[in-house]
Amino acid sequence: MKVIELKNVNKIYNSSEVKVHAVNDVTLDFTEAEFAAIVGPSGSGKTTLLNMIGGLDQPTSGDIIIGGTNLSALRSSQLIDFRLHHIGFVFQSYNLIPVLTAKENVEFIMNLQKWPEKEKNERTLELLNAVGLGDRINSRPGKLSGGQQQRVAVARALASRPKFVLADEPTANLDSKSATTLLEIMEKLNHESKITFIFSTHDPRVVKMAHRVITLEDGKVISDDIKGMPA
């Protein structure tokens, strides 16, 4: 089943002197439970593409359809609501709320969605246990390592059972061991929850674990290798 459809998506930045074609006529589909990596050199358009899929940026032309909804047709406030209910985000620099504990950070999106208290608690504990932080639920981000913070961010991204998770260079700030642990957790959650994960990355470990690798260059898709879906 198609979760995301990109049809002839273009993104052109017009500065005063030059015109930059950041994403050039990209047409792609993502299906349920994919574990896909978008790779390419710096400036190839990975992050721009990811931002557009996440509704954070608008394409200059083309359509991005998620679960039957064309993002171009949504107003700014509708897009925020759409992101809240359908998309999970993992950022390169974790971006947790520093004044909240790990548990409160994970609960944050469920609070925005007004989940009942009991279900919210159960889901939070389930996710924090799943990312191996069941014993650190009351720690604030400042007391957690980079790897642990990124695991909290993954738990937060999955909290509201989104259709897919967009992870922008999630391992870029992590050491090797933490990065491997994080990727194993994400792959496991992808496998168990059937939630699609899409990464933009330079990290060969991510590429190695991904089931599909899309390579961008100068905003164009130059290869789309499917290594096979997990069993």
């Binding site: 940026d57 925020i80 609501d81 992101r83 809240l84 985000f89 971006n95 709320i97 004044v99 944050f108």
Partner: protein
């Protein structure tokens, strides 16, 4: 959830938040005290104007107000008094004879207004009987003939105040000031100075500036000796317009907070005054009325006004317009004082919150990215501003109130400006008053300031574009 995050965000940068909270606290304390002092002065001035000088309502003959002649008494006095007895709003009234006269002693003369009063009745209407200065004799007594009660300023003008460092005074002073200072005063022992000026000049010669500044007031106060029982000659026009003189003896000296009143008003027994100006009856030039409450004054005026066309019925508002102006404008003072303080604080608060938004650009971008809508972002920043303001405001109001309460008991003495204040009817010692209405009003102003101050930073946060905000470091 938004409330909890907003509160936690306030304490994210403790030092910065505390600086703002302390600034708000100090600002509110200053506001509470300033307004408390103003309110204290207003309350005191209004009270003194009513209970020492003009009462709630006064009745005079219309013509008397233009020309203070002895024959222009209150029109239909008997009927007026009957009417007063029937009014429920009135708690008491007195009749007074009021004549312009010249007062003289062997050393000086002064123009005065002589009030002929019934001392016992007057006690129920005015508080002059409680304003006798220490060592200044007694209030008028109907049983002792020939007494005159004069103001402290009249005593000054008529040179009825002398300064003498007697043996007794020096012994008293030895108990409260250092011995070397008392020794310096020895050359002045038992010398009688006839004026304040002469005495202070003599003191200056004997004491150093530091000693004079520190102990001058105390020494002068102890040395002051009123010439009680001294004779005063009162000259006025009798009922036929001929000048007559009468001799009275000073029975007491009073001092109110209004030097102007003290400088002009002397009191004698109405009957004795009548004996001086002649005629068979005590003349009534003025009827002073006390109502059950200040708000009844207008009602009483309305009820009396139409019935006695020959008389002018005036309320305290017309009789003491300065006090009325203060009473009416006190809210404006609140508004201006607190408004200026709040305006200054608002800029500090806005600056702090703008800094907070700027520092958290990336985080705010993330919050918008993951689905926190504009309303919630706006509310969060607004609540942070309100919490920041309220923490300081609450502390400020409580501390300000506590300080004002403490000062309300002891008073603040503006000793250096005492004469200046008294010249315009204000006491040199002010007792700050903080009314619940002011606390309510300040709370409203704080809420308003917090809301206004929060709009700019909150709007700044809303203008962030998530994808750009996420790129900031």
């Amino acid at each position: 959830m938004i409330w909890s995050i907003a509160w936690k965000n306030v304490w994210r940068n403790k030092k910065r938040s505390l600086v703002v909270i302390i600034a708000v606290t100090i600002g509110i304390i200053a506001g509470v005290l300033l307004v408390g002092i103003m309110e204290g002065w207003t309350t005191q001035r209004l009270h003194d104007a009513i209970y020492n000088e003009v009462s709630h309502v006064q009745i005079h003959n219309n013509e008397y107000l233009r020309n203070e002649e002895i024959g222009l008494t209150v029109d239909q006095t008997g009927q007026v008094i009957q009417s007063l007895d029937s009014l429920r709003e009135i708690s008491g009234w007195v009749q007074r004879t009021k004549l312009v006269a010249m007062a003289g002693t062997p050393w000086a003369n002064a123009g005065v207004v002589v009030y002929g009063i019934d001392p016992e009745k007057e006690k129920k209407i005015t508080e002059i009987c409680r304003k006798i200065v220490p060592g200044g004799g007694d209030y008028l007594d109907s049983a002792h003939r020939g007494g005159i009660l004069i103001g402290d300023k009249v005593a000054d003008l008529l040179k009825l105040k002398q300064y003498n460092l007697t043996d007794t005074v020096l012994v008293k002073l030895a108990g409260v000031i250092p011995e070397p200072v008392v020794l310096h005063l020895e050359p002045l022992r038992n010398i009688r100075f006839k004026s304040y000026k002469e005495f202070t000049e003599a003191l200056k010669k004997e004491l150093g500036t530091r000693e004079l500044n520190k102990y001058g007031l105390l020494i002068t106060g102890q040395a002051l000796d009123y010439r009680i029982r001294n004779k005063i000659q009162i000259t006025l026009s009798d009922v036929r317009g001929n000048p007559v003189q009468g001799i009275f003896r000073v029975c007491g000296i009073y001092k109110t907070t209004n030097a102007g009143f003290d400088q002009a008003s002397v009191f004698v027994n109405a009957r004795e005054l009548a004996d001086l100006y002649g005629g068979n009856e005590v003349l009534t030039h003025e009827i002073a009325i006390l109502c059950n409450s200040i708000d009844d004054a207008h009602t009483v005026k309305e009820k009396l006004d139409g019935n006695f066309k020959g008389n002018a019925v005036r309320t305290w508002r017309e009789l003491a317009p300065d006090a009325a102006m203060l009473h009416d404008f006190i809210f404006l003072y609140y508004f201006v004082f607190v408004g200026i303080i709040m305006l200054a604080l608002a800029f500090g608060i806005i600056n702090t919150m703008m800094m907070a938004v700027l520092e958290r650009t990336k985080e705010l971008g993330m919050l918008m990215a993951i689905g926190m809508n504009h309303r919630r972002i706006f509310s969060m920043i607004m609540l942070e501003t309100i919490f920041l303001t309220f923490a300081g405001a609450l502390a400020g109001m409580l501390l300000g109130w506590a300080i004002a309460l403490a000062l309300g008991k002891t008073g603040i003495h503006f000793s250096g400006w005492g004469e200046g204040f008294e010249a315009i009817g204000f006491a040199a010692r002010v007792y700050p008053v903080v009314k619940p209405g002011f606390i309510f009003f300040t709370t409203l102003m704080v809420i308003f300031t917090a809301l206004v101050a929060s709009v700019w930073p909150a709007r700044k946060a809303l203008k962030l574009i998530p994808v750009e905000a996420l790129r900031t470091e």
